[in-house]
């Protein structure tokens, strides 16, 4: 089973009200060093078998047609996460 990750972020010029709320809450817990937060979305798309270039191309297509709205969001990453060792280690480390 392969897995493709798609990450979507609000465009820089669009005010991100959710990020604004989070950055307002951080200092209340003592996290005073973070001056800005932007909140995006992460999708994990599973496929049977390997993540082939065709699968990645289809994921890119899905990312720009359904998973994001180009008026307000940018697709910042479409990747095979099993092949992306660094990402895998990070997620296991956090879990």
């Amino acid at each position: 089973m392969g897995r493709v990750v798609v990450e979507v972020m609000p465009k820089p010029e669009i005010l991100d009200p959710q990020g604004k709320a989070v950055v307002g809450a951080l200092p209340r817990l003592g996290f005073t060093q973070f001056t800005s937060v932007r909140q995006g979305k992460r999708f994990e798309l599973e496929v049977d078998g390997e993540v082939t270039p065709e699968v990645l191309a289809a994921a890119e297509q899905a990312a720009v047609t359904l998973l994001s709205n180009p008026v307000i969001e940018d697709v910042v990453r479409v990747a095979d996460i099993e092949a992306d060792a660094a990402a895998t280690v990070t997620s296991q480390g956090l879990a």
Partner: protein
């Protein structure tokens, strides 16, 4: 126009999973003198209607983005085709969000700038009284209708906004207070042909005295929203 011609005009009202205001929209059509026809999201057949209302609510729970999943409902393919052919289509609140996701109208809606759900009686200025849905108003007229949303902040890039302004496609602007941080105070817009209109406030909740916003005639006496529905019925009779 005659009463019999009005009665033959059929306005479809689409119900998606999570739609809330379909019955109020159908009631508004009837109070304006037309026939309301219920349309179902999974049925691509428009059942011979002459116009379509996409009502408010939280279709598909606003999952992904407000309106993003409804756009792919079978009924929407037919609505998009009909709209491109000139059929009047009105999107209210969630319906407006669906129209932008379906690319029938430009821009998009994001969360209100103050992050709160807002519910109030809102004054709007009618800026374009020449669309299929606003012909019974006068340009510059102030109307009061309910407004209730979470993701009501209209956004678009500056070029799109300039284009909308230059072409007179800003149909409504918020008066007094911008309740969600919408760019340039825009509450509603239209397409180039003027048959597709979308707005965040709710005209269908201000159509019958006793059940509307406060007005000079008394509490809950406001019926300023009725003009949307008489306008489209008038457009259909003329067409």
């Amino acid at each position: 126009m005659t009463a019999s011609a009005l009665a033959t005009a059929k306005v479809g009202v689409v119900t998606f999973p999570g739609t809330l205001d379909d019955r109020d929209a159908a009631r508004a059509v009837r109070l304006a003198g037309g026939e309301a026809v219920s349309l179902w999201h999974a049925d691509a057949d428009l059942h011979g209607v002459d116009a379509v209302v996409l009502p408010g609510g939280f279709s598909y729970g606003d999952y992904l983005r407000a309106g993003a999943i409804s756009r792919f409902a079978p009924v929407m393919e037919s609505v998009v085709d009909a709209a491109k052919g000139g059929m009047p289509v009105l999107g209210i609140c969630n319906g407006f969000q669906i129209l932008t996701e379906a690319h029938l109208l430009p821009g998009s809606m994001v969360k209100n700038d103050h992050l709160h759900f807002v519910c109030r009686e809102q004054v709007l200025v009618v800026e374009n009284a020449d669309t299929a849905w606003t012909r019974d108003y006068a340009a510059g007229q102030r109307i009061t209708v309910p407004l209730k949303n979470q993701d009501g902040q209209f956004v678009a890039d500056d070029r799109t906004l300039d284009e909308l302004e230059a072409e007179g496609r800003v149909v409504f602007r918020y008066e007094g207070w911008n309740p969600n941080g919408s760019r340039r105070g825009i509450a509603g817009i239209t397409n180039a042909a003027g048959n597709v209109v979308g707005l965040m406030p709710h005209p269908e909740h201000a159509v019958e005295a006793g059940f509307g916003p406060a007005s000079e005639a008394g509490p809950r006496a406001g019926t300023d929203g009725l003009g949307f529905f008489t306008s489209v019925l008038g457009s259909l009779v003329r067409a």
